[in-house]
């Protein structure tokens, strides 16, 4: 373990430098300035906190190019708050925690970043850091902004008061960064101490502030951008204007996600289709061919196709956050969510969940209160994700085949029903197992600024990789298992199909013969689906779904959806039409017109409504459950989510089916 002696630093080959500071002090911008694009995001094991890590080289007097690991810790107001991010930072400074992939030991140096425009408050965390007795360097950031406001800081006096080096800098303009890099190689254990109790530190900070801040230049006019900030704040948090601008911005965000993502999604779809055909032509027909083409390539393609939406969502959210708007939006939405026991912090997770619940649940990490966070995670999968869209399209088309307006109403109703069920769930849980009022919001409102494109791109890249690693591996595995269950055991051709084929051979008209052969193939595929392991599972579980109006084939479709909801449409297509090409209108028509073994239609009016309610409310996504267990801190929460959503879905589907049947519907 490295020691914290300054003498030993010269001989150490790889130093760890922790970067600490309040939120909104430009810490990450400063980190990116020093680290460039070589940084990566890493989790603290067992927590939902993450840090950015960069390996940099610093030229020291004793060793040219000493390798250092720079760790950008989460922004915190104090090391002693009862918050996960505060605990993680305190543990890193004590040497008991480290980001995944790094060895836990006391940092060799501590860079404390503070805001020159708000020195008095920022000095508190400097005091707490000094008490850790680590080699320390203090960077007073945003010095350009402070000067414009007539704030002057005596750096030499501050260094004397703190007993460690102090550098005045601006990450935005680059001022003082060379000096900072030089000073980073020579941090010093402070030769002053600070009190350890809160009141003592506050007094200590006040004393130092009084000693180092020069009298404010009263003649300095309020900068124009400050006036603009004040006006924008009042508009964005206004009860009417705030809601209006929020609606406009979010509509734009959604439009861009759905519109722009559709192009790369089409390319990915085409590319995987081409790769499937090419690989398929290389491998001889058989089990391995089927597994690679229908299992592996289709599974990977089915996952990667959602990547553009996920990346676009995180990129746009990063831009919005970087602009300073999200903090204001959180207050707007807080008014609407509070009566249901959710806080404004839940807004980004719930919004993200409309694309996919997995990044939505991951975004809940930023919610400070644990009960607020768990309630948000439990509610997130009720939001209608993009994977539900193919199912909604199928069922609304079946329900209202020639009435597009009614289709649109039904579609909107699905979204509204999901949100309503989520709010009801939150209300219920916050009054029972997660009892307590939602914590009132207290948020620092950062200055409005042009978002940093580079930071947004880096974050998007990291999130994309995490998504591919987490969801990709799991969905891929599930796809292979599902393919195997659906493909085996192989069934011999049926007598009826063989008769049709024989009949086709005796017919002269080639068109009629082709039709008969296609019918024979469809019969065989349907028979194979019924006799496969998946088909047998469907037969076993069908009685449980009978009160909802589902036959064996629908039961298989519902069960297969536990891997991923969108699987329902292709599973139904395979079962009823003998083709899984759901882009083909005729296949959708054949699903709509599919019949039971006794010839009665599968998708009756009552069954379709029952299915629609079921798909809005059911927890049909294994990866979501895995992420819930990880983020909420245990499988009990994932099982509760599964149980509660299944109960709601079953009850609503049952009520819908029985109501329509008892009212004389079909």
């Amino acid at each position: 373990m490295p020691t914290t002696s300054p003498d030993s630093l010269a001989t150490s080959t790889r130093r760890t430098i922790a970067v600490l500071g309040n939120p909104n002090v430009g810490k990450t911008t400063l980190f990116n300035r020093i680290a460039g694009i070589r940084a990566k995001t890493s989790n603290f094991p067992g927590t939902t906190q993450e840090a950015r890590i960069a390996h940099i080289r610093l030229a020291t007097q004793d060793h040219a190019d000493t390798e250092s690991v720079l760790i950008d810790l989460p922004g915190i107001y104090s090391l002693h708050l009862d918050l996960s991010e505060s605990k993680v930072c305190a543990d890193v400074l004590d040497g008991t925690a480290a980001p995944a992939g790094e060895e836990a030991h006391k940092p060799d140096a501590l860079l404390v970043v503070i805001d020159a425009t708000n020195l008095m408050r920022n000095l508190s965390i400097v005091g707490e850091s000094i008490a850790k007795r680590l080699p320390t360097l203090v960077a007073v950031n945003m010095i350009d902004s402070a000067r414009r406001r007539g704030i002057h800081i005596d750096a030499a006096k501050l260094a004397e008061c703190l007993g460690c080096p102090v550098v005045l800098c601006s990450a935005r303009t680059g001022e003082g960064l060379e000096e900072l890099a030089e000073a980073l190689a020579h941090p010093k254990i402070p030769d002053r101490t600070a009190p350890t109790d809160q009141l003592g530190i506050e007094r200590w900070a006040d004393d130092i502030y009084a000693a180092v801040s020069m009298p404010t230049d009263q003649s300095t006019e309020q900068p124009a951008d400050d006036k603009l900030t004040d006006r924008l704040d009042r508009a964005f948090t206004h009860p009417v204007l705030g809601l209006l601008s929020f609606t406009l911005i979010m509509t734009g965000l959604f439009w861009m996600i759905f519109k722009l993502a559709s192009y790369p999604m089409d390319w990915i779809d085409l590319w995987f289709g081409a790769v499937g055909s090419w690989v398929g032509s290389l491998i001889p027909e058989g089990a391995i061919h089927d597994m690679v083409v229908d299992g592996v390539i289709a599974g990977v393609g089915g996952t990667v196709i959602f990547l553009p939406q996920i990346c676009l969502l995180f990129f746009l959210l990063a831009l919005l956050e970087g602009s300073g708007y999200l903090a204001r939006a959180a207050f707007v939405i807080d008014r609407a969510l509070r009566p249901f026991g959710l806080s404004g912090h839940a807004f980004v997770p719930l919004l993200s969940s409309h694309a996919c619940a997995i990044p939505g649940i991951m975004a809940a990490r930023a919610i400070p209160d644990k009960r607020d966070r768990i309630a948000t995670i439990l509610v997130a999968p009720f939001m209608s994700c993009t994977a539900r869209i193919p199912v909604y399209v199928l069922l609304t088309t079946i329900l209202f085949p020639t009435r597009p307006l009614l289709q649109a109403y039904a579609f909107t109703m699905c979204y509204a029903m999901g949100i309503f069920a989520g709010l009801f769930t939150s209300l219920l849980f916050r009054r029972t197992i997660l009892r307590g009022k939602s914590r009132p919001m207290a948020l620092e409102l950062p200055s409005y600024r042009l978002p940093d494109l580079k930071s947004a791109l880096l974050l998007t890249f990291d999130r994309g990789v995490v998504f591919l690693k987490k969801a990709g591996t799991l969905i891929l595995a599930i796809s292979i298992v599902l393919w195997w269950l659906g493909a085996y055991p192989h069934s011999a051709p049926t007598q009826a199909a063989n008769d049709l084929r024989a009949q086709a051979q005796s017919i002269v008209d080639p068109e009629q013969a082709d039709t008969l052969l296609a019918q024979a193939d469809a019969l065989d595929t349907r028979n194979a689906a019924a006799n496969s392991f998946l088909g047998r599972i469907g037969t076993t579980f069908q009685p449980a779904f009978a009160p909802l109006g589902y036959d064996r084939q629908l039961t298989v479709g519902v069960l297969a959806s536990f891997a991923a909801r969108e699987v329902f449409v292709s599973t139904m297509a395979v079962q009823v039409a003998g083709s899984d090409d759901v882009d083909d209108d005729t296949v959708l028509e054949s699903i709509a017109n599919a019949t039971n073994d006794d010839g009665s239609p599968i998708f009756t009016y009552a069954t379709s409504w029952s299915l629609l309610f079921f798909y809005v409310l059911a927890s049909l996504c294994l990866p979501t459950l895995v992420v819930t267990a990880k983020e909420a801190g245990g499988w009990k929460w994932a099982l509760l989510q599964l149980g509660w959503m299944s109960l709601l879905a079953y009850t609503a589907a049952f009520a819908a089916y029985q109501f329509i049947i008892s009212a004389g519907g079909t």
């Binding site: 008095m120 004393d207 948090t237 509070r338 620092e444």
Partner: protein
């Protein structure tokens, strides 16, 4: 440790302190643009620690920038500049202040 006597520190803190009303009132009673000094926060212990760490601690001067839900205050300088904090009305009503005369 900086060697500053308690007396000089106190005088430094109060150097630019305007005269204040002796009676503490909830923060929500400030009008827009009005300034005051924080007396104490009567929020729950968790919220109280958080607010103190965010800079809302006794004797700190603030300016009211927006009333209502949320209430926006400026910790340093004028509204729009420096550090701005948004508070839900529920929590703002539990922060007691002395209004500057």
């Amino acid at each position: 440790m900086p060697t500053m006597s308690a007396q000089s520190a106190q005088s430094a803190r109060n150097a630019s302190t305007p005269r204040v009303n002796s009676k503490a009132v909830p923060l929500t009673q400030l009008t827009r643009g009005q300034r005051g000094r924080i007396d104490c926060t009567a929020a729950g212990s968790e919220d109280c620690s958080m607010l103190r760490a965010m800079g809302l601690r006794p004797d700190v001067s603030i300016q009211m920038c927006r009333l209502g839900e949320p209430c926006i205050i400026s910790l340093t300088g004028d509204c729009g500049g420096g550090c701005r904090i948004g508070l839900a009305k529920d929590i703002a009503s539990r922060v007691m202040i002395h209004i500057d005369e």
